[in-house]
Symmetry: C2
Subunit: 432 residues, 2 copies
């Protein structure tokens, strides 16, 4: 990555643009603020404030790095999850092969920070975007880029748009295999073969592999869902073999085969590392991105680690790294409190936040008793807490919440304190 661009983040001035930052830090740079060794509880952060736990981040980064190494897969974590260059840097330092992007806006952010290798997990058919890409490929010969193609039409649109501003080297693409009822991706091997053929006829594209997204084929983690994922992965393998037999990958040093969200990456790794016919030079690449923060909702439930380890009665290897603190502003009924947190601050597409701990006026933190407190509803700027009427939760208390689905949490925060215990050790900037 671009060390200077990353260092420049430390020179950014803190001010009212960052909704939770302490007003006493306004006018200071991020580096100046951190040099004061601020604490989360002492610095005067304004609620609500999302916080990342540094130990949990580091633990998750190492756990995923070790697991990928052990299982013989590369990792191009989806950067859409955090859109935080500082976290991309940590992922790359922990051995990530590249970073995955969903769209042009994300790709431009990655390139502003010098991410060297990007998987673009969509068909890029925007003429303005392709023109920009063409310039970027020429500007930096080291920039490794490949995007999805899933239709002959898409190949045509890309080819025509690139012809208007052709790059000096071809744009690498992987043909995407989907399935009926899924998301993008050619619906059959036959259709995928047609797309591959169209790519090989394009003067500006180069076919470098096969991609897919197994989580579009299944929901949940019951036996049927896991079987549907396995069946899809077998189709993906068959497609790789068939295209190879057709000579579609002739002349390549490596064939990129990529799949893997955060729910089934164990099955993906297993499927993509089984021996390939005629020792094809396959580079298997996972794109799981949520592992870095894990969560207290969706991924706690569906992460294969969580499932495996729960079944074995063990502690799951990933740790939740996100916590949001919000203040009780009202307790108008014995069974109801309102806190300063809403749909603008936390995800709500999978689960409501989970009330975990409360910090009272005297500063002591305690866990909620079972059944004492849960979020029953979110408004734009308020959360409704359903309380046991005997609970002593009071106006002015701070409640700490676990969150579900990091992707729709991070996009609500542009500067996020990272803490080691109570000490603020970093401020992570996101770009959404």
């Amino acid at each position: 990555m671009d060390e200077k661009a990353l260092a420049d983040l430390g020179g950014e001035r803190i001010d009212w643009r960052f909704k939770a930052m302490p007003d006493t830090a306004f006018g200071r740079t991020v580096d100046e603020f951190l040099a004061q060794r601020p604490t989360l509880t002492g610095a005067g952060f304004a609620g609500p404030v999302l916080v990342l736990d540094d130990d949990a981040l580091e633990h998750n980064l190492r756990t995923m790095r070790d697991w990928c190494a052990e299982h013989g897969v590369q990792l191009a974590p989806h950067g859409k999850t955090t859109m935080a260059p500082r976290l991309f840097q940590r992922q790359l330092e922990h051995g990530a092969w590249g970073i995955t992007a969903a769209n042009l806006g994300q790709l431009r952010v990655y390139r502003a920070f010098g991410v060297g290798r990007v998987l673009f997990a969509n068909q890029l058919v925007d003429p303005a975007g392709l023109r920009w890409l063409s310039g970027e490929l020429d500007r930096d010969p080291e920039f490794g880029f490949s995007c999805w193609v899933d239709s002959v039409d898409g190949v045509r649109v890309m080819t025509e748009a690139l012809a208007a501003a052709p790059p000096s080297r071809p744009v690498d693409v992987v043909v995407e295999l989907g399935g009926a009822g899924g998301r993008t991706g050619a619906r059959s091997a036959e259709a995928a073969v047609e797309v591959a053929r169209a790519v090989r006829q394009s003067p500006v594209l180069r076919l470098v592999g096969v991609g897919g997204y197994e989580a579009a084929m299944a929901h949940g983690t019951d036996a049927d869902a896991l079987a549907a994922v396995d069946e899809y992965l077998q189709r993906l393998r068959d497609l790789v073999a068939r295209l190879s037999a057709d000579g579609a990958f002739d002349g390549l040093d490596e064939i990129l085969v990529t799949c893997g969200g955060s729910a089934y990456f164990d099955q993906v790794a297993e499927a993509l590392t089984r021996p390939w016919p005629t020792a094809l030079p396959v580079t298997p690449v996972l794109r799981s991105g949520a592992y870095i923060t894990h969560d207290d909702g969706l991924y706690r439930a569906v992460s294969p680690f969580g499932r495996e380890h729960r079944l074995a009665g063990q502690e799951p290897p990933f740790r939740p790294a996100m916590r949001l603190w919000a203040q009780v502003s009202s307790r108008p009924e014995p069974e109801l409190a309102l806190v300063t947190m809403g749909r603008r601050d936390v995800s709500f597409d999978q689960h409501h936040p989970e009330a975990q701990v409360v910090r009272g006026e005297r500063g002591s933190v305690r866990e909620f008793a079972a059944g004492e407190c849960r979020v029953s509803k979110l408004a734009d700027q308020h959360a409704f807490l359903q309380l046991d009427p005997r609970s002593d939760v009071a106006v002015g208390d701070w409640v700490g919440f676990g969150l579900s689905h990091p992707c729709t949490v991070f996009d609500k925060w542009s500067m996020i304190p990272v803490v080691a215990g109570d000490r603020v050790v970093d401020l992570v900037r996101t770009f959404f």
Copy 2:
């Protein structure tokens, strides 16, 4: 407002931080870009892109201004909806009395742009926030601020926190009346009277009125809902009268009575402008904020204007001002297309976006036929379009969507083009 701070927005450099902005504009300031008279379809915006229609904004601003004048109410539109200083400016130029805030982060943004009068529609019990407020009140004697109080406990917390950094003038508060099953607010007149008494005993607070939020009492627009709103408004009136009779407002030039979201403001205006006992000097203030953009979902359905006018067979007075353009990246099945728009780009808490128009490769725009196209699902970065299999929607086409609930649309965009026809006439910056 602060003219310099507003003008400085025009000096902001456009770059990769703004996800939809054309890369050809990178490095230019907002003013420089606008001086080139760019067009939406020609400038190379990257999809997805949210666009505001200038005529619709202006029309809505005037309609609401005229309606408030005609009905004898003031308007402090909730700024949380857009968090866009340029739009606050337009609201204030159209006669708004002040701007409403939900939390400290929002208030700090308002003050950075010199908003002179703020209703803080929550009980502010954060000691760091109160310390900052105290300084802000002292720094600017013209700054008009009032916040909610709804409990004796809250009054105590505020009083103790302010005592640590007392402002040279009292902090104005309005006692909030709620209702069983509602949101914040004292649950009974008796409880509210207790709170008012506590305020009058506080050396740092001054009671200036009564507030509430009628939409916490009702859902939808059936007769029961409308009756529940009316009943609540009567309780609010009764509380004003009772507090006045108790002498709670003695010595005030005006009594602030504020209510009104975007669903029932007709009833609120009617209730707050009926004659008051003994000609109390009541200033009735609505807080409706969504009118500025209106929408194609929630507020189309619940806006009293929409309801009234639909009943009378007339065109509703507010016009939807938001449209989001996203590109078709895949059409893997005859009945399915995927577009480059997801939960990161549009609201999904009330309704899915409504596919309205399509722009094909040749640039012509047509409306969808009835039943041709609808959004069936949103992922983080994709929308699933359910299509009539005969539809000619193709990879590369751009689809224009109407959106629901502006509050959860704006917070996904930091720079939003405003268009007059195809011409980009402004870039609205938001601060979330």
